[in-house]
Amino acid sequence: MALSSLGQKKIGDIPLQSLVLILAVVVVIPWIMPNNYWIRIAGNAGLWIMLSLGLNVVAGFAGLLDLGYVAFYAIGGYTYALLCSGHWNIHLPFWLVVPICALAASACGWGLGFTSLRVSGDYLAIVTLGFAEIVRLLLLNLDRPINITGGPNGLPDLDFAHIFGFTFRTVTQYYYLVMFFALLVILASYRLKRSRLGRGWEALREDELAADAMGVNTTYMKLLAFGIGASIAGGAGAVFASWQGGVFPNNFGFSQLVTVYCMLILGGVGNIWGVILAAIILSILPEALREYGAFRMIGYGLLLVVLMALRPQGILGEISLRPKRKKKEVEEPETLKAAEELFYGDGSHDFVKPLKKGKLNKDRVLLELKDLTMIFGGLHAVDRLSLKVYEGEILSIIGPNGAGKTTVFNLITGIYPPTSGHIIFDGKEITGLKPHKVVEKGVARTFQTLRLFTNMTVLENAMVAQHCRTKSGLFSILFRLPGFLKEEERIERVAKENLGLFGARLTGFRYKQKAINLSYANRRRLEIARALATDSRLILLDEPSAGMNPKETEEITRFIRNLRDKYGYTFIIIEHKLNVVRTISDRVIALDYGKKIAEGSYDEVADNEYVVQAYLGRKKGRV
């Protein structure tokens, strides 16, 4: 009972029971292993766990295909070798050198990240691979004119790890040292994954543009991922170097990189427990086969292929550590009935504050566009567009396909910097700001083609939206400072409240459902909930009712109006269904070829000659 209550308090941390279990296993292993050889193998598994979890941050969480990872391992190892050996006769203490190695590797990681920010996917892979090659060649060739790395000979005879008068010599002692670091890394990755940073990375991996538009500073997050991954590799390199008692260039070759990636893929990218399990399997397996020469690698490869064929999502795939409770996949009839009526919320929310009467100033301009122009090559997608949106207003933008409606949204939210013109939000210029900055100011959007973070759960999708409203840094996340815990609680509450606006459609068992498993209409709803969860005042909805049946369309229409009436949100809506536009809009603007051709109430715009022409073409005989 005491255990579970403690676990309850520490939301999102490793369950205490699991931690105790892991610790027990780690402590017991040297006692049950037949000899030193197997203890060393176990220690090696610990090193591989560290390495693969470090890569898991970069490639698993953030989805950056980093092929230069093993270079950071090398940097860590060689830094240790230089600072703890007779090579230059520097003998720094171990506890000081490991952080130095991690920092050195991390600095290189930031550097590599910084130079390769503009590339992603395959190109990133090539750039990072190039980096790894540079490091490898430097290690091989920096033995003259001054001998730094020892060239192909490497640097032998390194110091034993020495901490406060205790020297680690035997295999068992080193095993415990390695495992200590491995546990630290496990704990750190677990905590990182369940934090705003972890969710930010996953959002980045799922959809970079949407992540940016939801307030995740993608540039910073990428650099952070590179830096953290590299520092873990650097620390692992230092421990490795100390244990091996020497570093050699071919300790850090392409084959090691392939092995780490195998562990990551076999374990299931991003899945911490899976990666740990894969690291253990793949580091022990080749040892078990060591006596069989060429058959060793054949067997290893074969097993890898079989495992991947059986479990393409990784060995642990969808299995989580704790057995899942049976969940109701089908909504109960009552719930379904309730969901058919619109759920308005009961007004008891803290964050989505119901509107106080008279607070809304309908004359106040919330957003103003001045002569906004966007030119793609020779095409004027938006042509000197000026408009004003008043607080609490619902403004619809209509126009035929290609009229530039979505481009206007992209300009407001900062996805494109405009060719010329100004965007003023709440009296402040936001022209040219990056998307995540625009969200911070209070403008959020949905996308015409749904851009949810499909492999994250419904709740996580909404939680990502709070990224720009929270500040917890690495330090407070890793040490779970009170500030972080308070923030986490707040994030979850805000997310749940906003999802709660949609009633049973997005709450209850749906919290834990992946976005990819939602129905189309529910995905639309989730996008709106996600935009609301950013705490923005102006919401841009790009075809909110697309793909919905008439009933759902009516529901969403009333829902949007209700959000305005009750909570005071301001909306700009792009919509093709004219009955939606008619019922919902305070004002309508019609665009054609990037120009505003009509503005006014729905009836005024609908009767406008130019609008009719734009939709239906010119009447015969008229010029």
Binding site: D157, N251, G293
Partner: protein
């Protein structure tokens, strides 16, 4: 006080080590020897030649009744040429209580990384190819080698190039690995000492399929001799072929790795004709004592490149030492080490007597220089005592 404590502690540790690792056992509990080396990976070809030769020697011993009637078990420890894996192998061999000696590791970096570990568990190592000089300079007593060191071949090759080939200008290339780098360093140092003025150096990438860019630079200098230090025969074959294609007239001098009839001479499609190379063993086909071994090897595993014979001899030397150690029905690792060091004038199949000096190095090893003539290796010089 502190010093006394520390001293006491280290004495305790040493005693602990010697008692833990000084396995003294009845021979009948089993005898095994380990083969450590790169049996997979890029160096698998020479690695497997070494392993097969060890196997022949062990099989012969067992066929003759083993040691004191106990069959010797051969355990493979594949390190793929990676020091990190070599360390695992060492740990495994150390932990094997029936193991009394290790053949290998043949690669210098692996040998370097595992030196301390094998020393700690008193396991005798006899390498057949690791030629980095400082391996035997660290004061360990468990490490022996039947091959000459880099600093033995380099001077011999330098002298041959300066004095026999009378080269005035030499271009030296080497791949970036311990062996080739040390070799090139020694050749260059000797050439300088002998007054060769025009020496150029460059490094190349191992296993590349195209060396034309570096060879273009070589061509511009027009040297008399091109020395190439590279570990594997295909590298030499590519190099010598492209060199002739580019019309470079220099004499080609390859390091040990080039001595492979199939992968060097035949693979170069005639370009190797007239090239020189050095090797630590004489032509195995010309030694009468080796005839039986060659016949057995070729009938079982195909052609020999030169890494096999020393491994065969090394295994027999180790088995002899084990036999002596086991003479009283009891055997310890330390005994094996002791009898190894006493090896004197062992005449195996290498054509020269094997004696170890105090450091474990081969006493009076020679460098054999061959020339490719008519699609085969022809011994042209034996350089001794460099």
């Amino acid at each position: 006080m502190k010093k006394v404590l520390l001293l006491g502690l280290s004495v305790c540790l040493i005693i602990a080590f010697s008692t833990i690792n000084g396995y003294a056992a009845d021979v009948s509990k089993g005898l095994s020897i380990g083969a450590a080396g790169p049996f997979t990976g890029p160096a698998a070809a020479p690695g497997m030649e070494i392993f097969n030769s060890i196997k022949i020697a062990v099989d012969e011993k067992n066929a003759a009744g083993g040691i004191k009637g106990v069959k010797v078990k051969l355990v493979m420890g594949d390190d793929a040429g990676d020091a990190a894996q070599g360390v695992n192998v060492a740990e495994k061999f150390c932990a094997d209580k029936t193991m009394y000696g290790v053949i290998g590791p043949p690669m210098s970096n692996v040998a370097e990384a595992t030196l301390r570990m094998y020393a700690q568990c008193n396991l005798t190592c006899i390498t057949t190819a690791a030629s980095r000089p400082d391996l035997t300079e660290k004061g360990y007593h468990h490490f022996f080698r039947v091959n000459a060191r880099d600093d033995a071949h380099g001077p011999a090759v330098g002298h041959f190039i300066a004095e026999d080939l009378k080269a005035k200008s030499v271009y030296v290339l080497n791949t970036k690995d311990t062996y080739s780098q040390g070799y090139a360093d020694q050749v260059v140092a000797t050439l300088k000492k002998l007054g060769v003025k025009k020496i150029w150096r460059d490094t190349i990438v191992a296993s590349a399929k195209d060396y034309s860019s570096v060879l273009t630079r070589v061509k511009a200098k027009n040297p008399d001799v091109l020395v190439v230090g590279a570990k594997t025969a295909p590298d030499h074959a590519v190099m010598v072929r492209q060199m002739r294609e580019l019309g470079i007239k220099a004499i080609y001098f390859g390091s040990e790795g080039a001595k492979d009839k199939k992968d060097f001479i035949q693979a170069s499609e005639g370009a190797a004709e007239g090239a020189y190379l050095n090797h630590f063993a004489p032509d195995i086909y010309k030694i009468p004592e080796a005839a039986h071994y060659v016949k057995v090897y070729e009938s079982k595993y195909g052609s020999l490149s030169g890494f096999g014979p020393p491994a065969y001899d090394a295994t027999n030397i180790l088995l002899n030492a084990m036999e002596k150690a086991a003479a009283d029905g009891d055997i310890t690792r330390k005994e094996v080490m002791k009898y190894m060091a006493q090896t004197k004038n062992y005449r195996g199949i290498l054509g020269f007597p094997i004696t170890f000096d105090k450091k474990g190095d081969l006493l009076g090893g020679a460098t054999y220089i061959f020339k490719v003539v008519g699609g085969d290796f022809k011994l042209v010089k034996v350089a001794k005592g460099m």
